[in-house]
Symmetry: C2
Subunit: 192 residues, 2 copies
């Protein structure tokens, strides 16, 4: 039940048995069926979740069209960092792309954790850093990589995405239409 969480945490900071157990008491388990929401735009997302099993994404809605911001698999933490920290409503939708199992932590429980076990500040800091690094990498790629380059990088760097997620969602993530991704795939297949 908590194996994945344990090894994930231990990559960040060494924990005694008691510390880990305490951490776990702050979590609640939650199942999401495919297509169920973790958070909707307009809501305040004062919780973050460890994905124990499954896959989620967040997306923006503009003129009725979805634009995928990011995909998350088991082993990573998900949540609207902005909303979580500031208490303001989210502008993103978070939903499950597969049946998923989450371990959810509330904002005030995390704050309590920081106070009672300051070594967990490191956990919070690394989480925040990862958000910044991920977001800036994504911006850079959208700014100067072509859609084809973005697709090739995705295959290279995150093969799981290409394996488990429908192509129309990947197209949206790359900033193009499904038809264009089809053409890119054909181009690549023909040229080798």
């Amino acid at each position: 039940m908590f194996d994945r969480l344990k090894s994930s945490l231990e990559r960040l900071l060494p924990l005694t048995r008691d510390e880990f157990v305490y951490f776990v008491t702050l979590l609640t388990s939650r199942k999401l069926a495919k297509h169920e929401f973790f958070l909707r735009a307009g809501e305040v997302g004062r919780e973050i979740a460890f994905i124990n099993q499954g896959c989620l994404r967040y997306y923006y809605l503009k003129d009725g069209n979805e634009f995928n911001g990011q995909f998350f698999f088991e082993g990573s933490w998900i949540g609207d960092y902005q909303s979580f920290l500031t208490g303001r409503p989210s502008i993103q939708y978070f939903d499950a792309l597969e049946d998923s199992a989450l371990l959810v932590m509330q904002y005030h429980d995390l704050q309590k954790l920081y106070t009672e076990l300051p070594k967990f500040e490191r956990f919070g800091r690394v989480l925040a850093e990862n958000v910044v690094i991920g977001s800036q990498r994504r911006t850079a790629s959208l700014l100067f990589d072509t859609p084809e380059e973005r697709y090739l990088k995705l295959i290279q760097e995150r093969p799981k995405v290409v394996e488990r997620i429908p192509l129309h969602h990947i197209a949206s993530y790359l900033g193009i239409k499904p038809e264009s991704l089809s053409r890119i795939r054909k181009r690549l297949a023909d040229s080798r």
Copy 2:
């Protein structure tokens, strides 16, 4: 000398005279002539700077081409947040677009400040939040706004950028070529 800094800080947290004076002792003044660098890709940027006067940008270099990430004017803080926090080399170039005057704070001085005057943690937190919010807004806009929409939003939301920064830099920020921005401007001028 410190008026702009003072009013900028006071928007975040109320300070006594002594606290502000202490903050100021941690800063060193630095002038940058137009085109001078604040930080180069490959270097570790263990300092952040308050822009007292002038304008800076950061950009990425790919295949010999510059891609502008963001512009900063007097009153804002600049630095490579990733490099600053993690101590790893930057992948961005920071340079001055006008003759500029900075107030520079070193990483270890900021850490000292957090320890000695914990109320400044708020300062650090808000700085970090702004980085995340800015980066995510930018990603979203690159993902689903057209270049023309991005240009119109820029005029609306950040008129200073359009007034003070050459169009070829703005084009690069929008993710297009100068010629394309010229055409967009013509299109807009013709259609009204």
